[in-house]
């Protein structure tokens, strides 16, 4: 049913992406705005503070916000240019309804809402409540994340709710919970500046979290040594004291071998291990055979470099370990994370000044969005949906009977698989673009085509929303008030700069009305976003992610408050574990054995090359927003296939040659960029594009057994040079953003 109503070309003609270089109304008012609104960037987990210039209820420019302590005015190009999406020509100004063979037509809210609610009721009464699923995203504020979690369980009454953090840092979250009982970076970024050694595993910090680089460079001015684990020489790896060019999918062998070196050389904090941890013996037993030579063979990193890394890490007095998607996007993402944590615990360098550990969240609210209950297995306060006490507490806050609260549902990729199998018939999505962002996206597209009803809440008609029966025109970041939690655990305030244009509405008001029409209006009678936050505070109280002591007023006054913050007189917690009381049941930090296993799809004769994916600095996630900003698209106009000259030579590929990349799931053509800054057995493609340029046609849906994160970072591919040069960038369809 949900096949595209008209051709992709036609949809693009009508709804974009089109490139904006100037605000719709021109630069009128650029120099003389009505007001400057202090808020934060809508993109990555750094959540840089910035000010939006507003003229006549439209955002017309930006001005640095020098006082915000994390970034003091510093920004990356995305943050600078983000204002261009406000009032964009592609912006959806009213709800849309699909009309077969004609496309989409604007409808009024009454029509869109009543159709949606009728379909939800029809599907749920025919197939059961869980046959209607919901997908959410962590670019949403904390308030909206909380509201979505409650909406799905209380109004929609479905177990099948999950979020796009499932594609992001859930492996880190699962690892953190196992080791520490709590899922947050251990320190604020300030501690980074004075660490003796910084180890960055699988994170292209310079392109994905550019403003964090400042802290790293400052640390180096203070004498810090930098170790970077990455198959590519990224800008941060270029300057590292030690770059470990790991073969994708083999990270845990590296951390295992390093741990073995720490044991062998007795670079261990015995007191810390004895008094504050458990599981050490079993963990080191698992790596006792991990010799340097073995690790070199598996990881492709010279044994000498691994030894050096272990010595640098082992002998330091202070250290900061961080990682990102490079080690998390694997079918053993959790093991990779635990491998890193084991190195931190073995040296006891946690909960002290200048010592830290944590994941860097890719999405704006990657941290907060994983605490308030829009994950399939979780309730607010990072509570467990299967724990009877936790369920009871939240049911009481929500004013429902615990028995009526759905249980644990399917994860994001599993929801799409269940739709594909015909088990889930209806879907509502908000702030999630799985057609671009999920692996094996040909399957995703097929799945969407099988839905009986799909409603998308969005502000642009992104690649997934194109399949919808009804699109509810929601709000941009600058049109909604709320809070987000940055990657360092700082809860900050997002201030609405303008109201939604045309007939568009805030996401909160859309969810509120849907809930009312589904008969749960009394549970969603929030006056404003602060009222939602105040309920969230109560719901989080006593949970591991405790926000109870945080208020809007305190956030504004203090430039953010770090959770946990259990009471109004609590100062917040920039540095965790200083009291050595971990959030596990026994109060100890847990070592976990993380033995090496191969990636899900190793290379073979037919598919001999490793494919890995990632990001570029000028684009954000599925590109829904950034592919509509001219300047950002011009900076990196089309996805390129990075390939080492020696591998290129094997296939007879030269720079700008068009290469067909084939995997067991799909194929796509990309211009080659021949560079020595990548391993010679690995190719890299950025994933921000949809359609024929989508890297995720090729990637694999192997899931980590614990976190259920897909293995975006490694699969096997073959390369077929097409014998012709790629067209000039300006003629490429990716540049036109198809």
């Amino acid at each position: 049913m949900a096949k595209l109503p008209i051709s992709v070309d036609k949809i693009i003609e009508n709804y974009g992406p089109h490139k904006a270089y100037a605000p719709k109304q021109g630069f009128h008012g650029h120099a003389d705005p009505d007001k400057l609104v202090k808020t934060h960037c809508c993109f990555c987990g750094m959540q840089c503070g910035l000010q939006l210039k507003v003229k006549d209820n439209a955002v017309v420019g930006f001005e640095p916000w020098m006082e915000f302590p994390f970034n003091e005015g510093r920004m990356c190009p995305k943050g600078v240019a983000r204002y261009l999406q406000n009032n964009h020509a592609d912006r959806l100004l009213s709800p849309l309804e699909r009309v077969e063979s004609e496309g989409f037509k604007a409808v009024d809210w009454e029509t869109a809402m009543s159709r949606t609610v009728t379909e939800i009721k029809r599907i749920q009464s025919t197939y059961g409540n869980d046959a209607f699923a919901m997908l959410s995203g962590v670019s949403l504020t904390n308030e909206l994340s909380y509201m979505v979690g409650k909406f799905a369980r209380v109004a929609l009454k479905t177990a099948n709710l999950d979020y796009n953090g499932r594609l992001c840092m859930v492996s880190a979250g699962a690892g953190n919970k196992k080791a520490f009982g709590l899922d947050r970076i251990s320190n604020s970024w300030v501690d980074l500046k004075h660490a003796e050694v910084i180890m960055i595993c699988g994170s292209n910090v310079s392109e994905t979290f550019p403003t964090l680089i400042h802290y790293i460079w400052e640390a180096r001015d203070n004498g810090a040594k930098l170790i970077v684990v990455d198959p590519r020489v990224t800008p941060v790896a270029r300057t590292a004291d030690l770059h470990l060019p790991v073969r994708p999918g083999t990270d845990s062998a590296l951390y295992g071998a390093m741990l073995q070196q720490l044991v062998e050389n007795d670079w261990l904090d015995h007191d810390f291990i004895n008094q504050h941890t458990s599981g050490f013996d079993a963990t080191i037993a698992a790596v006792k055979d991990y010799s340097l030579e073995w690790a070199e063979k598996v990881t492709g990193i010279p044994a000498e470099s691994i030894k050096q890394a272990a010595a640098m890490w082992g002998q330091a007095k202070t250290s900061f370990m961080m990682h990102a998607r490079g080690i998390e996007h694997h079918s053993k993402g959790v093991d990779n994370v635990l491998g890193c944590i084991n190195l931190v615990l073995a040296t006891g360098r946690i909960g002290k000044p200048y010592c830290g550990y944590g994941t860097i969240t890719g999405q704006g609210n990657g941290q907060g969005g994983r605490e308030h209950g829009h994950k399939c297995d979780q309730l607010p306060g990072n509570r467990d949906i299967t724990n009877p006490e936790h369920r009871k507490y939240i049911a009481d806050v929500w004013g429902i009977d615990e028995k009526d609260m759905p249980g644990k549902g399917l994860t994001a990729y599993e929801i799409l698989e269940a739709i594909h199998r015909g088990e889930i018939k209806g879907l509502i999505s908000i702030c999630f673009n799985p057609v671009v962002s999920l692996p094996n996206n040909n399957m995703v597209r097929e799945a969407l085509e099988k839905l009986e009803y799909y409603v998308a809440i969005d502000f642009f008609l992104n690649e997934t929303a194109r399949h919808a029966n009804v699109v509810l025109s929601g709000a941009l970041h600058e049109e909604e008030e709320g809070t987000v939690t940055s990657a360092e655990g700082r809860v900050i305030k997002i201030n609405a700069a303008v109201t939604p244009p045309g007939d568009a509405r805030t996401d909160a008001s859309i969810l509120k009305e849907l809930a009312a029409r589904l008969g749960a209006g009394d549970k969603f009678a929030f006056k404003n976003s602060e009222a939602i936050f105040n309920e969230l505070r109560v719901a989080s109280k006593g949970g591991t992610a405790d926000y109870y002591g945080i208020t809007y007023e305190r956030i504004v006054k203090n430039y953010g408050v770090f959770w946990p913050c259990p009471s109004l007189d609590h100062p917040g917690t920039p540095r965790l574990w200083e009291d050595r009381k971990f959030a596990t049941p026994d109060g100890k930090a847990h070592f976990n054995p993380a033995p090496y296993r191969d990636p899900g799809e190793p290379t073979d004769k037919e598919y001999p090359v490793v494919l890995t994916t990632g990001r570029v600095v000028s684009q954000y996630l599925s590109g829904t927003q950034t592919r509509r900003i001219g300047k950002l698209l011009d900076q990196y106009p089309e996805p390129l296939l990075e390939i080492h000259p020696s591998l290129a030579q094997q296939f007879g590929i030269q720079d700008r040659d068009l290469v067909k990349v084939v995997t067991r799931r799909g194929e796509a053509e990309f211009p080659a960029q021949v560079v020595t800054t990548i391993r010679s057995d690995t190719v890299f493609i950025p994933y921000h594009w949809g359609g024929s340029k989508s890297a995720n046609q090729l990637t694999i849906g192997n899931l980590d057994p614990i976190s259920k994160i897909p293995e975006f970072k490694v699969c096997a591919c073959k390369l077929i040079p097409l014998g012709r040069k790629a067209p000039p960038v300006s003629e490429s369809d990716a540049y036109q953003s198809v």
Partner: protein, 191 residues
């Protein structure tokens, strides 16, 4: 010489530290946001040799003590003020002859073909003259660009020294903008 603006802080200097540049282009994007630039960027980021490195260089007007661009301008369109800022060509005077483009040892001025006008960085005069920092140096996430006092810089970068003496063969050029070099460096030989 144009009159100095009274709010221009003479102690503030501009520092460029290429080693830190992460090729993010935030400086270019932000420069184009300057009210005076007509949405054009006056700073340029380029790869040194992308086939072998991700290192980029960033090219900004060096605001020379004795600016070659101004010296060769037949129309007197380029002026240096007493704060040491070399201003972009005066729109009403510039004849688009490109002499400045040819003369600048750092390759800075660019002729905007559409406007038949030379444009270059004027150290965000609309901002610096009222005590703000230039756009590019404000946003640069890596500290590759920095605007502040020499003393602040010395404290921040104990392992580097700012250099503003450049040798192009026999020619010596002193600039208002500094380039960060390894400790002990006094000048940079370009040829």
């Amino acid at each position: 010489m144009a009159e100095p603006e009274k709010n221009f802080d003479q102690d503030m200097e501009f520092f460029v530290d290429m080693q830190r540049c992460i090729s993010c282009h935030a400086c270019e994007t932000a420069c184009a946001e300057c009210e005076t630039n007509g949405q054009e960027t006056m700073i340029h980021v380029n790869y040194v040799d992308r086939a072998h490195s991700v290192q980029t260089t960033v090219q900004v007007c060096m605001h020379c003590e004795d600016p070659a661009c101004a010296n060769v301008c037949p129309a007197d369109a380029i002026s240096k003020d007493s704060n040491g800022v070399v201003h972009s060509a005066n729109t009403s005077r510039c004849i688009g002859c490109s002499n400045c483009v040819m003369a600048c040892p750092f390759g800075v001025p660019k002729k905007m073909e559409a406007a038949e006008l030379m444009m270059k960085c004027n150290l965000c005069y609309d901002r610096t003259s009222v005590g703000k920092k230039p756009m590019c140096a404000t946003v640069c996430p890596s500290g590759a660009l920095y605007y502040g006092t020499r003393e602040e810089m010395r404290k921040k970068r104990p392992n580097s020294d700012p250099v503003n003496t450049f040798k192009f063969g026999a020619q010596t050029v002193h600039t208002k903008v500094n380039v960060m070099m390894p400790k002990g460096s006094k000048e940079l030989k370009v040829h």
